[in-house]
């Protein structure tokens, strides 16, 4: 069936082994980026910093979508469910057990892993649009559960989470929360990047590009896909815990269809398959959603829609394509 091919085109550059000079440049870029990001709270006020904190948390969710969609070729609308599982777990831990951020993140990670393992074995048997619809079904069912389960507050959400503390110190101000979220998000990024570059990551790309051939070569796509699904669930849950750390509140809206769709779109806008592109896409999408709506009389969707259309026609490879295009011509000449 054709739906098997419903995957992103292979971004040739990302899959190719990197030359030393280029790796050096990439490391330098990562260090510069990390340093600049770390300096943000020194310069910006509380609101922009809290906004960037949410962007970072959302970017971790988007990373998990990218892991599935961009790298393994499984377009998903269900990652918001695991994001929500992580956020609810962190909030429950925060309300009832401890305000320690590390414990919350660890608990969320385990919960996300478990949730993905329970639901994933059904989903990974499908391909393309069928996989997409199954993940949508998972997402909607979990959303429904959150909306009606009184133990987690039902539709009113779960409030009352104290400020996150790290190493025994509470972090009340926006800037400190930001640093904590940045540190965890950077660790998540590093883990996903390592996985993507590992032999396992190459197997996943192989599955994306031609699953039948991988099977013929003796790989077993089933377990590989299940593994990456669980990993993505854990990463999304970490994103959820970080979101909860900033907002200090979780409600069913946090794991709704809108969040899942925005996460998938961030991957496409950013350029699926690369890791930093989708992170930028995440920031762009949240920036438009949270800051433009009131300025255009509540019609933010109009702007967001126009951005989507413009991205497709001006940046066929997403934001990541902008950086890659010059290099490619270099390589050809």
């Amino acid at each position: 069936m054709k739906a098997v091919e419903t995957t992103a085109p292979a971004p040739a550059v990302a899959a190719r082994p990197r030359r030393p000079a280029r790796r050096g440049r990439a490391v330098a870029a990562a260090v510069t980026a990390a340093a600049l990001l770390a300096a943000v709270p020194l310069v910006l006020g509380a609101y922009p910093v809290s906004m960037m904190t949410r962007m970072l948390a959302f970017a971790v969710l988007v990373l998990s979508v990218d892991l599935l969609t961009g790298i393994t070729g499984m377009p998903t609308l269900g990652q918001a469910a695991y994001f929500g599982v992580g956020a609810y777990t962190a909030a429950l831990v925060g309300v009832h057990l401890t305000s320690d951020g590390a414990v919350q993140v660890a608990a969320a990670l385990l919960a996300g892993l478990a949730a993905a393992a329970v639901t994933g074995w059904i989903a990974v048997r499908a391909h393309g649009i069928v996989f997409l619809m199954l993940t949508l079904a998972i997402g909607e069912s979990v959303h429904q559960l959150a909306d009606t389960w009184s133990l987690v507050g039902g539709g009113n959400g779960l409030a009352g989470m104290p400020p996150v503390s790290v190493l025994g110190t509470a972090l009340p101000a926006a800037g400190f929360v930001y640093w904590w979220v940045l540190a965890v998000a950077a660790a998540a990024f590093a883990v996903v990047a390592l996985v993507a570059r590992s032999p396992y990551g190459r197997t996943l790309r192989g599955i994306r590009d031609n699953e039948a051939r991988m099977r013929a070569l003796g790989y077993r796509p089933g377990p590989a896909k299940f593994g990456v699904f669980c990993l993505a669930g854990a990463v999304a849950a970490v994103g959820g815990a970080l979101w909860a750390a900033q907002v200090r509140f979780v409600s069913p809206g946090d794991l709704g269809f809108e969040v899942a769709a925005l996460a998938l779109l961030s991957v496409v806008i950013g350029g699926s398959g690369t890791l930093w592109g989708p992170c930028l896409g995440a920031a762009l999408v949240l920036l438009v959603r949270d800051n433009l709506s009131a300025h255009v009389g509540g019609h933010g969707a109009l702007v967001l829609g126009a951005v989507f259309v413009a991205v497709v026609f001006t940046m066929p490879r997403g934001l990541a394509g902008l950086a890659r295009r010059p290099r490619r011509t270099e390589a050809r000449s």
Partner: protein
């Protein structure tokens, strides 16, 4: 799109993320470091107020009415509240806390408003409680109905000019127990507000000797066709139905209640949101005869309400709704509080709100109770045709 492409062009090199930070900076304006916590500031003769209402999503009609009501009060008072010139910053609450919480954070931490008015979504209000409590900025909830907002999660900084779900439902309980001879069927959307309203009704209704004939909770936001439920109601032998729906669900439910022939045989009761504002316009003749409880109706026969409806119509070209009144009254409460307060800081105003006494509102006199909820009258209303348009005629007060 020029700005976008310029930003994107600046992202081309390796300095992508710094470009983004610069973009964020440019968009949000520089406001110093974020490593300390500071509350609201008031300065001299001006106060800055935040209006947090949904301008997009399914609650947008409510948000527009609230904005219009708030604006009307300001216009009627020369743009001044409590003797101070008011500057209003309006942000979009959106549909869920996903958008509502960040919008409130912007008002308080960036715009440094003295107080915030609005909030339609109950989850958003509950989610923001700690934030306002810790920031020491008053939040005047002008719609969100969750009982906990002025119950177990109350705060000295959170005040409500609207209603608590349970109380609106409870107001109708004794009246239905008296009017209906037989069991009453309960049906509502399956979410917190629906369950609280039905729960409030059930308690008061059963205390007054009423009997429940059955109950159903329909999937919230997903139900378009109520026929299976309407059949169940018909077969239950119920003598009346109590329900709560809002928005498109209210329109579909009331229309289908009529289309499937139940309206002629089993009287329909509900909380007033079932037939309020734009929803009633869409229901039209199908809603005639539906009886509801609410703390306001455009048909209240008092001089102050008549003047209000007239002024609102002149200004906005349509009739006000309960949502307009709730925001109008939030402005009235702030008017009194700012006049009484020692300063224009959030703490001063929160303290002053406790001593403003009774407000003479289009809905009738009301005041804040000990939990900061509105203590007010509820009215029994019935939808009637009024020369081509439809209104909620007031049958009397409920107590």
């Amino acid at each position: 799109m020029g700005v976008l492409s310029a930003v994107l062009r600046s992202l081309r090199r390796t300095t992508t993320i710094s470009g983004l930070a610069v973009g964020a900076l440019a968009l949000s304006g520089c406001a110093g470091s974020s490593l300390d916590q500071s509350g609201s500031q008031g300065s001299g003769d001006e106060v800055k107020l935040g209006l947090l209402v949904p301008l997009s999503g399914v609650y947008a009609p409510l948000g527009e009415d609230m904005r219009d009501g708030f604006q009307l009060y300001l216009d009627q008072h020369g743009g001044r509240l409590g003797g101070k010139t008011v500057r209003v910053v309006t942000v979009d609450e959106g549909e869920t806390p996903q958008t509502g919480v960040p919008a409130a954070q912007k008002l308080v931490t960036q715009d440094r408003v003295t107080a915030v008015v609005g909030v339609v979504n109950s989850a958003t209000a509950l989610g923001l409680r700690d934030f306002f409590h810790e920031s020491k900025v008053p939040l005047l909830v002008a719609n969100a109905g969750a009982d906990a907002i002025t119950g177990e999660r109350s705060s000295p900084y959170v005040w409500r000019t609207s209603f608590a779900n349970g109380k609106v439902g409870a107001a109708l309980g004794p009246a239905v127990a008296e009017e209906v001879d037989g069991g009453v069927y309960l049906i509502t959307a399956d979410y917190a507000a629906g369950r609280e309203m039905v729960g409030g009704f059930r308690k008061a209704f059963e205390a007054a000797g009423g009997k429940i004939a059955g109950e159903k909770y329909t999937p919230f936001g997903k139900t378009q066709d109520y026929q299976p439920y309407l059949s169940a109601i018909r077969n239950s032998g119920a003598k009346a139905v109590f329900s709560f729906y809002a928005g498109a669900e209210a329109v579909n439910f009331v229309k289908q209640y009529k289309q499937f022939g139940l309206a002629d045989r089993i009287p329909l009761y509900g909380t007033g949101f079932l037939t309020e504002g734009g929803v009633l316009n869409a229901q039209g003749a199908s809603a005639v005869g539906v009886k509801t409880s609410l703390h306001y109706s455009t048909e209240l026969d008092t001089p102050i309400n008549k003047a209000f409806v007239e002024a609102y119509r002149t200004k906005h070209g349509k009739a006000p709704t309960v949502y307009s009144v709730q925001a109008y009254d939030a402005a009235a409460a702030l008017d009194k509080a700012i006049a009484k307060a020692d300063g224009t800081g959030g703490e001063d105003i929160a303290e002053a709100l406790g001593g403003i006494g009774t407000i003479d509102s289009p809905r009738g006199p009301w005041s804040f109770d000990a939990d900061h909820d509105a203590r007010q009258k509820y009215y029994l209303r019935e939808v009637r045709s009024d020369g081509g348009s439809f209104v909620n005629a007031v049958l009397g007060e409920l107590d």
